[in-house]
């Protein structure tokens, strides 16, 4: 098992290295002379000397490989450069916004997890009967509704109509509920279908016939025999959905005027602020890679065939 984790970690580092090269190339190949941009940002009437000074400062006159090393060193320390558009320190901006996005995605993930299991279990327990059809209808609708529409509907219902929850802002648990639901709704629907189809698949397997021949009840077979078999698939899908939710912050944060990474990334994309886009991509990709390793370990732990093979 430890060997497996070590191997996965090595692959992850390799992937991260590739990602960093990609992100670096992105900014290097971006149009426009960076030194001039920054110099003019500091003093609108920048002279040749000012520009040279900036070049010297940021190491822009060095060969590419050296610049990459310089940049990577900085990035590892959390120094992600300065925005060419606003002059802000990108690393500092990221750090200040991290907790907002973390709150959003964590809450969304919990919503997706709980709702999907609830809907999936109800569907499986009453398979091919009314409750199942209702749950499947809800899941179908949920998986087809864009999150910005869900958000708009929730705001209209809970804030505008019933005045129960704040419309926007990041100010304590009450203000978190709607963004969480908005972010978690579509993934919940997608995951509940994974649960439902997984059960359907598992319950048609020969080992379920064996379990029935033991005189076990249908419910017990569902949870003791089928559930362990769908766990790896579910974990995998959950990982994918959490990844999607991180990017989903780009939609949900602006909707509720939250100043998180998604909001920052969106602004970066809109105004083609390459340093910001680069930094956000780096953070997101790092998260995906780590998430993938965690999911892989989770799958290995829940699937005995993989567990033995990899331990």
């Amino acid at each position: 098992m430890l060997v497996f984790i070590a191997k996965r970690a090595r692959n992850a580092v390799l992937l991260l290295f590739l990602a960093s090269v990609l992100c670096f190339t992105l900014v290097v190949s971006a149009p426009g002379n960076v030194a001039i941009l920054i110099a003019e940002l500091r003093t609108p009437t920048a002279t040749k000397e000012d520009i040279a000074k900036v070049e010297e400062e940021l190491g822009l006159n060095k060969p590419l490989l050296e610049r990459y090393g310089f940049w990577l060193q900085g990035a590892l320390k959390g120094n992600l450069g300065i925005s060419y558009k606003t002059g802000e320190d990108v690393g500092a901006a990221l750090r200040s916004r991290l907790s907002v996005t973390a709150t959003l995605v964590a809450g969304g993930a919990v919503v997706a997890f709980v709702l999907s299991l609830l809907v999936g279990f109800i569907g499986a327990l009453w398979a091919h009967r009314m409750p199942d059809y209702i749950m499947r209808g809800i899941a179908l609708l949920g998986a087809s509704t864009p999150s910005f529409f869900v958000g708009a509907l929730l705001v209209y219902a809970f804030s505008v109509n019933w005045h129960l929850l704040p419309t926007f802002g990041f100010s304590g648990p009450a203000s978190w509920v709607l963004p969480w639901l908005t972010l978690g709704f579509l993934p919940a629907a997608v995951l509940s279908r994974v649960v439902r189809v997984g059960f359907e698949d598992a319950m048609a397997k020969p080992y379920v016939l064996t379990a029935r021949s033991k005189g076990l009840s249908q419910t017990r077979i569902l949870f003791r025999d089928a559930l362990p078999n769908i766990a790896p698939t579910y974990l995998n899908a959950l990982g994918t959905q959490i990844g999607t939710m991180v990017v989903g912050a780009v939609v949900v944060e602006p909707l509720f005027a939250w100043q998180g990474l998604g909001d920052l990334f969106l602004a970066g994309v809109r105004f083609r602020d390459f340093m910001v886009v680069q930094a956000c991509l780096l953070v997101f990709i790092t998260f995906f890679v780590i998430l993938n390793v965690v999911v892989d370990i989770g799958i290995t732990l829940t699937d005995p065939r993989l567990r033995r093979q990899r331990s």
Binding site: A143, P146, T240
Partner: protein, 297 residues
């Protein structure tokens, strides 16, 4: 021919609701310019925020544009966008997938690792990155979505291609000396195309959602071209006063996507056996009941 037949057969077996919804979406999209009651972009500030009336069935938005006309015109925007994205994505995907499935070996290995990475990254982040680099424009949006979508197409194409290549008659063709190009273009490519078309249709819902999402973020379709996501974000500031203008485009978009998702579900669930419904049991019992009177020799 082969691919058309496969496609027609697949459509015939689909759930009614999906065929109906998707059919309506496609028809509206195709004939939008002829059936919109008003010019979707004609402003009439006297009408701004007006509710439904005989003349304007679904009312007008904050600029006094006829909502029904805009919803219908948006179907066309969406349809064209979805088709372009799927066309680009599947062109890349099918070429890569069939090459991987035809060559196998290390070509397959390398291509599929790339596809793995492409599939592991959420499609929205790929699109955003592409738009972040190249800037906001219609064609950049199409490109961005195509780049996000080709890996899944490549994966399916490869699976189909491997299947086709493993059929006994392919081996026979090779032994008989058919040239690789002939095998590829006459036998492999059309068969893959037919199978992939079904998946492409099922995937269209996700693409429509992505277009609407990018437009909602102001990175896709630009005003004044009507598009559901963009109509919704346009009306969002007036949510309190006129929620209809937010809800209508949202509902229309959801409905279109529901159609495609029913289809996707049908494709995915086909292989799992399920208990017979009451109607099917009754039909089979009629057969067994007839055995009491007649037997075969």
């Amino acid at each position: 021919m082969q691919s058309i037949k496969a496609f027609a057969k697949a459509v015939a077996a689909l759930p009614r609701a999906a065929v109906f919804t998707i059919g309506a979406f496609i028809l509206l999209g195709l004939f939008a310019p002829y059936i919109t009651p008003y010019d979707p972009n004609a402003q009439n500030l006297l009408m701004a925020g007006e509710g439904p009336s005989l003349a304007h069935w679904l009312g007008a938005d904050h600029l006094g544009r006829d909502t029904l006309s805009r919803l219908i015109a948006a179907a066309r925007t969406s349809l064209v966008g979805v088709c372009l994205v799927l066309l680009c994505a599947h062109s890349i995907g099918i070429v890569i997938g069939t090459i991987a499935g035809y060559r196998r070996g290390w070509t397959d290995e390398v291509l599929m690792r790339v596809v793995d990475v492409g599939q592991a990254i959420p499609s929205l982040i790929v699109s955003l990155a592409v738009i972040g680099i190249f800037g906001v424009s219609y064609w950049n949006m199409i490109l961005a979505l195509a780049l996000a979508w080709w890996p899944s197409s490549a994966r399916i194409s490869r699976a189909v291609a491997v299947n086709v290549m493993n059929k006994p008659h392919m081996e026979a063709l090779r032994v008989l000396g058919a040239s690789p190009l002939r095998i590829y273009f006459v036998h492999l490519f059309p068969a893959t195309l037919g199978a992939v078309l079904v998946y492409a249709t099922a995937d269209a819902g996700a693409v429509a959602l992505a277009i609407a999402t990018l437009s909602f973020l102001g990175l896709g379709i630009q005003p004044p071209t009507p598009e559901w996501g963009q109509m919704l974000v346009d009306a969002l500031p007036y949510l309190e006063a006129d929620p209809r203008q937010v809800i209508l485009p949202g509902l229309t978009l959801t409905l279109a996507v529901v159609g495609f998702n029913i289809l996707g579900e049908a494709v995915a669930l086909n292989r799992v056996p399920k208990p017979l419904g009451a109607r099917l049991v009754a039909a089979r019992r009629r057969i067994t009941a007839s055995w009491a009177t007649e037997t075969r020799s």
